[in-house]
């Protein structure tokens, strides 16, 4: 199985953005549990943030932000449940990148596995980006994975992605499965060295 493929390279995401303000936005809010009663990820996009949207005035229903491909969030975005349905729903709504002050780890890992870069910016820059996009919803953002920055208008903000995932996006190896399958012998060796695998506790004697 090939481990790299040029169409999997994610060096940049360009497009308009949608601001979703507030800290600790959990995955139950991103996609309510009732939509997890499914055996596929299809059709999740339309239910993204459904309960928050029911209150009215949600940016996902704001005409100005339709067609956005970057989400601008604050701290601890995607906390709570590990449901991959959350980034799946956001991806299917049309988003290809996330920019926030911080991300919950499982959400971040799920995004990598889907090839969706998550950029970490300072609190000040997160607010600056959100303000800018509200003033001018047609503003084009360039989220640059290799350069670790988000550019908009004449401005540039530092936007970090840890080295491991950065490499995976730049090389197109974010789908870990190919790499994990490369060295089956090494997997077998580790399995054999663990006393509980195969129920052979005797091996710890040696």
């Amino acid at each position: 199985m090939a481990t790299t493929s040029t169409d999997r390279i994610r060096s940049k995401v360009q497009g308009r953005a949608v601001p979703v303000r507030g800290a600790d936005i959990d995955t139950d809010r991103i996609i309510p549990a009732r939509y997890l009663r499914t055996v596929t990820f299809d059709n999740l996009g339309e239910h993204a943030f459904e309960d928050d949207r029911a209150g009215g005035g949600h940016p996902f229903d704001d005409e100005r932000f339709q067609g956005a491909s970057v989400l601008l969030a604050n701290a601890n975005f995607g906390c709570g449940s590990s449901r991959e349905h959350a980034p799946q729903a956001l991806m299917r709504w049309g988003l290809h990148a996330f920019v926030a002050e911080s991300f919950a780890e499982i959400f971040f890992g799920n995004c990598i596995a889907l090839g969706l870069p998550c950029f970490v910016v300072s609190a000040v820059d997160a607010a600056r980006l959100q303000d800018a996009i509200e003033v001018d919803p047609n503003l084009m953002l360039t989220c640059d994975v290799g350069g670790q920055q988000v550019r908009f208008g004449q401005q540039v903000v530092e936007a970090k992605i840890p080295e491991g995932p950065r490499e995976q996006f730049l090389k197109g190896t974010w789908d870990a499965l190919g790499q994990l399958l490369e060295d089956k012998e090494a997997i077998a060796k580790t399995a054999q060295s663990l006393p509980y695998v195969g129920g052979t506790w005797r091996k710890i004697r040696t």
């Binding site: 199985m1 507030g22 809010r29 906390c79």
Partner: protein, 467 residues
């Protein structure tokens, strides 16, 4: 400086360093449930892959199963479809499956330990964020998403970055009426819901040492609520005693050898950590959440915060929480009237939880107008409780006695809040809409405190009902 358990276990399970700089980590135990697995099995099929270690993979159903009428087909078509999917997938890929009607069925984080599948020194994953529960045994256990479930099925490995380790010492002892749930709520209250990001939590100190395995599970369970993907307790005699004789635990000579290996992994006295914090166990009171994150809590005899006194960075969040919950500033939480009382979930649905709740419920009656339910975490817990007559205590008091499952913890089955009902709950999340109604409200607390709320009809300091 010596190694801590996290480092030792990580090292032993490292297959190799990947070109990305991440670690290819071997998965010792992979637990499966119906919600996060069907898409993963489909991805395997599409790529023509098999499950690499069916011997290290176990499946059950918990999230969608009804806890009252369990006849098939389920009344909910979507739930039935998911049930059929997991039955079919586990059959096709030849995996052990504990379905409805099986005496081993239950919430995945309750059955792993009770079957002895969960053991010290393992790496354990599940497509569920509360997988840290298994860390109570000195395992490195964490939740994963569906693409990673696929990776673990196909390769028994994950691509992971190593995290830092923070030791959390809970010193001294706990006062009467204070439980493991209060300890973890106090930890999250102090360190915050983002405090654990980038860390694994090692829980230790006299309070943790004195805890039973079930109490340690309650603490580790909510690590994710503090932002830590993984939390653990070093294995000790309490751990070994719990495991001995369980169906999947090693037997005889093997058990002796296993305890040797398990003990060798525990953090030594000279182990180093990236951070250490300590809490005074004696200062912890029965704790209740008043907000919409598990970090928004206070002692039962305290009040909601005053906005002026909240740090600037938290003020918007606190104001949003108070508004959603219908609390004023500086309002006592005691006396908050409840509509529903829920005892269950992977945090607090084990036999010791039910015993504590039953002590409070005994010879009392659920307040009129309150819907109260007890949902045991597994068929085994349910049967044990029935042997002890706890179900009669609950039923006589007016609680509904249900079958095992996740139930109103996340309300994917028919057990749901309605409208803006207020629920006193032993579960782990008080997020907006978590218990099935977009405007429903959840107050988290220990099983004894939920029982106290059920019988008085409002949030009550359980210590007043004791003796």
């Amino acid at each position: 400086m010596g190694k801590n358990l996290f480092e030792s276990v990580w090292e032993q399970h490292t297959v190799r360093e990947l070109p990305s700089g991440q670690t290819q980590l071997f998965v010792g135990l992979h637990l499966i449930h119906e919600v996060t697995s069907p898409q993963a099995f489909q991805m395997l099929r599409e790529r023509g892959l098999k499950v690499m270690h069916p011997d290290r993979t176990f499946a059950t159903v918990d999230h969608i199963v009804p806890t009252d009428i369990r006849d098939r087909p389920f009344l909910d078509d979507l739930a039935e479809k998911m049930m059929v999917a997991i039955e079919w997938n586990t059959k096709e890929f030849e995996l052990p499956f504990y379905g409805v009607g099986d005496p081993r069925q239950g919430v995945v984080h309750v059955i792993g330990p009770e079957l002895g599948l969960t053991q010290p020194g393992m790496t354990i994953v599940c497509g569920d964020s509360h997988t840290a529960t298994h860390g109570a045994f000195g395992a490195i256990a964490f939740g994963i998403g569906t693409s990673q479930v696929r990776d673990a099925l196909a390769t028994q490995c994950l691509s992971m970055s190593k995290t830092k380790v923070r030791r959390i010492e809970v010193r001294g002892s706990l006062k009467e009426g204070v439980y493991a749930k209060d300890v973890i709520l106090a930890i999250i209250g102090q360190l915050g819901v983002k405090g654990g990001m980038g860390y694994a939590y090692e829980y230790g100190g006299d309070v943790i040492d004195a805890m039973s395995m079930e109490e340690r599970m309650t603490v580790c369970n909510m690590s994710i609520e503090g932002g830590a993907r993984c939390g653990y307790v070093n294995p000790d005699d309490t751990t070994f005693e719990y495991l001995e004789g369980r169906p999947h635990a090693p037997r005889g000579d093997d058990f002796a050898m296993a305890t040797q290996w398990w003990s060798s992994l525990a953090s030594g006295e000279d182990a180093s950590y990236d951070d250490v914090v300590s809490l005074d166990g004696f200062a912890i009171a029965p704790t209740v959440t008043w907000g919409i994150t598990p970090g928004q809590s206070c002692a039962v005899d305290e009040c909601t915060p005053k906005l002026d006194t909240v740090p600037d960075s938290d003020r918007t969040g606190v104001a949003e929480a108070l508004e959603y919950m219908g609390f004023a500033e500086e309002q006592p939480v005691v006396g908050t009237e409840i509509d529903v009382a829920f005892i269950g979930s992977c945090t607090n649905s084990r036999i010791s939880d039910l015993r504590e709740a039953a002590k409070v419920a005994k010879s009392r009656k659920v307040r009129e107008g309150v819907k109260a339910l007890v949902v045991p975490g597994s068929v085994q817990v349910r049967e044990q409780a029935q042997k002890e007559g706890l179900h009669e205590v609950f039923q006589e008091a007016g609680f509904e006695w249900r079958e095992a499952g996740c139930s109103m913890c996340l309300a994917m089955n028919p057990d749901k809040l309605r409208g803006d009902q207020i629920c006193a709950s032993t579960s782990n999340r008080n997020f907006k809409g978590r218990q099935g109604s977009p405007t429903g409200r959840t107050l988290l607390m220990s099983p004894a405190m939920v029982a106290a709320a059920a019988v008085t009809g409002s949030i009550t300091d359980v210590r007043k009902l004791m003796n």
